[in-house]
């Protein structure tokens, strides 16, 4: 091979590595981009007047008088639409029997969509479900709903070899020969959405601390947040003492021998057990055998999660304890301190930042794990728990509810913003913890080297 070829190959090889790194970075950006951008949309968005009405009626937030004024304006802007529908209804008699049935059906559909967009029409009884009592609270959802008012989705299955094709047919075609075709209902709706819903930029930070209303149609994610906190702290309460003591034993007391190396193999095996197996084990052992609670509970979930992060805590603490210079121990021992005394007063305090780093990383791990809590702790819908209830009650938790809302919820598309918001909060939480760990580690290495 010629030398120039070898050089070219060398360059190509280097760029291959750089491309791999770049791809990794790109994957991270592609992954976090939508989550951050659309997730922050759960907190900051253009809220309509319906959102403010909701806040006042459900959470007693905002100024009632101001809202009344605004609502009056919005109602005034909506009035022409309802009048135009009434005009069409009054005109029904002039139609032939078959056509009248058709138009009545189309009108019913139109009113339904209008209710989804603007809330219940004036004069109609208050619907039972909270989700039906309000119009669109978010402007971007309102714009989508407006499309539903103007167009009807139709699926074309005429070509059997292909998948059905979606086409949009103008809704106005359903009302041929009625006043709705000519009285400008649809153009009015299209051009006056602004005045009817009055969007404003809203910073809804209470998303984090509000309980959810009507299966996450409205409100925030407090029960999930609280559940995740309980589970994470419970897991740490269990794993931290065990992990640190084990690390102390392994570094300070244990000699070399088949038992100790067996122990080490067991710890690394525990780290390799798939998380779903932990979940089954938690169900079979903590709940069905030990009976720590009669069915799913935060306690059972915490114990399972604690077991899951135990190897991480042990490893991190072990590393931290090993990093404490030998001179510290020798100095303490030469002053006459016993071994246990040395460990407690000299070694552990010196290793504390490192142990904390491990703790923080394991917390992130425990907060994000879903599989172990499916059978041991998580429920889809629930109230925020009081501290005393954690021993017997299951809880909603962020990771589980993300899964649940985006696969099993009855209106998956309507509450995308809540799903993104939850993912954003969970990822944010985990990354915050990891950043803290990275900073902590940087400070330690500075301290040890400086």
């Amino acid at each position: 091979m010629q030398l120039s070829t070898r050089h070219v190959l060398d360059r190509a090889f280097s760029s291959l590595g750089i491309v791999a790194i770049a791809l990794m970075g790109a994957a991270l950006v592609l992954l976090l981009g939508p989550i951050v951008i659309r997730g922050s949309g759960a907190l900051v968005f253009r809220g309509t007047v319906e959102h403010r009405r909701l806040m006042l009626e459900l959470f007693q937030r905002g100024d009632a008088e101001e809202l009344d004024e605004e609502l009056a304006l919005a109602r005034k802007a909506r009035e022409p639409l309802y009048e135009k529908i009434a005009e069409c209804e009054a005109d029904l008699k002039s139609l032939g029997f078959a056509r009248r049935r058709e138009v009545r059906g189309a009108l019913h559909e139109l009113k339904e969509v209008m209710r989804e967009l603007l809330g219940p029409a004036p004069g109609t009884p208050k619907p039972v479900m909270p989700r039906d009592q309000y119009g669109q609270t978010r402007w971007e959802r309102a714009e989508l709903k407006l499309k539903d008012v103007l167009f009807i989705e139709k699926w074309d299955y005429s070509d059997p070899t292909q998948m059905g094709k979606k086409t949009l047919a103008p809704r106005i075609e359903d009302f041929k020969g009625t006043p709705l075709e000519t009285n400008g209902f649809f153009t009015y709706a299209e051009t006056h959405l602004d005045e009817m819903l009055r969007p404003n930029w809203t910073f809804y930070w209470q998303f984090l601390t509000d309980r959810s209303y009507d299966a996450h149609f409205f409100g925030g994610i407090w029960p999930e947040m609280l559940g995740t906190f309980y589970l994470t702290f419970g897991a740490m309460l269990f794993a931290l003492p065990l992990g640190v003591i084990a690390a102390v034993y392994l570094t300070e007391y244990a000699g070399a021998g088949p038992i100790i190396s067996g122990l080490r193999v067991c710890i690394s095996t525990l780290a390799g057990v798939p998380s779903i197996v932990f979940g089954l084990f938690g169900l079979a052992f903590f709940i069905n055998t030990l009976g720590v609670s009669s069915s799913k509970s935060v306690l059972a979930g915490s114990l399972t999660l604690g077991l899951l992060v135990l190897p991480t805590v042990i490893r991190a603490s072990e590393e931290a304890i090993r990093a404490v210079p030998k001179t510290y121990r020798e100095a303490a021992l030469s002053l006459g301190a016993g071994k246990w005394h040395t460990v407690m007063t000299v070694v552990l305090p010196a290793a504390l930042p490192g142990i904390l780093t491990g703790l923080v990383i394991s917390m992130g791990r425990a907060a994000g794990e879903t599989a172990p809590i499916i059978f041991t702790a998580a429920v889809s819908v629930g109230q925020p728990l009081k501290l005393g209830q954690v021993f017997s009650q299951p809880t909603p938790a962020l990771p589980w509810n993300i899964y649940n809302l985006c696969t099993e919820h009855e209106a998956v598309d309507e509450i995308r913003h809540v799903q993104y918001g939850m993912v954003f909060v969970l990822v944010g939480l985990v990354l915050l913890l990891n950043t803290a760990a990275i900073i902590l580690r940087a400070r330690i290495s500075k301290k040890l080297h400086g």
Binding site: L9, D10, M24, P34, L242, V273, V277, I314, A371, T407
Partner: protein, 363 residues
């Protein structure tokens, strides 16, 4: 008295430390205990491993999990194909090519990739990636084909033209080489055009399929592969590199022909750990694999939905835990048992490989 106290204290410490070990045995025992009734049922083992008919809720129920095993293997294989080349290339880059300051920037990226919860990956796979794939799957495949194929084609053309031009007489070497290079490049481009035309004609009927899951699982396994193989590459030592450079090898030759073979067992351990990560992952496959208990036709068709062991356990336990002890319940423990045994074997294998590597490099 004091010695007795010391002994007591130490044994207490030992007992607490042994919790982790006890936990491992408890896990194996309790999973096996609930899986045992399933395996004991006459004819079940044959059906479980040999049949593809998975109808746990039908009367009479059928528990043929072969397609589920194949699905698990398929997505794991896909994840390995994504993660290993990328991961090893990135590890080489980190250990040998990048200056220290850039490395400090890349490390957090890997850490963040490792820290993101699996449910967030699953959400991304289901809500962002799957619709994209369904809509322009063919186009994505074609672009992927170009990205992978173009550099390989160019390099192959370059090397081939170089190798074959050495036979030509001295004077004609450069023109022969140029012509050959152009010819081969044209050939490669033509092949790629044909390939991309075929790929872009593919319609992806569902975005939740094995390919989607494989890519996401590959990204999730990347951090493990990168960090373990980077450790292995670093452990290969400076003398080895310097020796190779002294013999006149370029950096690429040194890495490919000397360092990577020396670090092979460490890289092997990295692959095993990556496999473990992919095979034990639940949320991503549950959300985005389509959960269809079928063997794709042909078996390597990654564009069809599959079902994996972990997703089956997670998905079916909700209905099965009302009937503790029934076959429907125990079959899930049987699956968990298989997963557990597999991960134990992987763990032992990776320990063994790492230990052997340490011995080899140390002595």
């Amino acid at each position: 008295m004091q010695r007795l106290g010391k002994l007591l204290g130490e044994s207490l410490l030992f007992l607490i430390t042994a919790t982790a070990a006890i936990a491992v045995f408890l896990i194996i025992f309790f999973i096996a205990k609930d899986a045992w009734p399933f395996f004991r049922t006459p004819g079940m083992i044959g059906e479980f491993f040999g049949s593809t008919k998975w109808y746990p809720s039908r009367e009479p129920a059928e528990f043929g999990a072969l397609s589920i095993f194949v699905g698990t293997g398929l997505v794991t294989l896909g994840a390995v194909i994504v993660a290993v080349p990328l991961g090893v290339a990135a590890a080489v880059c980190l250990s040998d090519l990048l200056p220290f300051s850039v490395r400090q920037l890349v490390k957090p990226v890997i850490e963040i990739l490792a820290a993101i919860p699996s449910v967030a990956y699953g959400f991304f796979a289901l809500v962002v990636f799957a619709p994209q794939m369904q809509e322009n799957g063919g186009g994505m495949l074609a672009v992927g084909g170009w990205i992978v194929g173009l550099p390989i084609g160019l390099l192959a053309a370059f090397v081939l033209s170089d190798l074959s031009s050495t036979r030509a007489p001295e004077k004609a070497r450069i023109p022969v080489r140029t012509i050959l290079f152009l010819l081969l490049t044209a050939l490669a481009a033509w092949g790629l055009f044909l390939l991309s035309a075929r790929l872009s004609a593919i319609t992806v009927s569902s975005g939740t399929n094995a390919l989607n899951v494989s890519i996401i699982l590959g990204i999730m396994a990347l951090p493990t592969v990168v960090s373990v193989s980077e450790d292995a590459l670093q452990a290969a030592g400076r003398e080895l590199r310097q020796g190779s450079y002294a013999l006149g090898a370029t950096r690429a030759e040194t890495i490919c022909l000397v360092i990577i073979p020396a670090a092979a067992s460490g890289i092997c351990a990295a692959v095993i750990l990556g496999v473990m990560r992919a095979i034990g992952e639940t949320m991503v496959v549950w959300m985005a694999s389509g959960n269809a208990a079928q063997i794709p036709t042909p078996w390597y068709n990654l564009l069809e939905p599959v079902r994996t062991l972990t997703a089956t356990i997670a998905g079916d336990m909700g209905e099965a835990d009302h009937s503790i002890g029934s076959l429907r319940y125990t079959v899930l423990f049987a699956m968990a048992f298989c997963l557990l045994i597999f991960s134990l074997l992987c763990n032992v294998a990776s320990e063994y490989v790492v230990r052997r590597a340490r011995k080899k490099l140390g002595g």
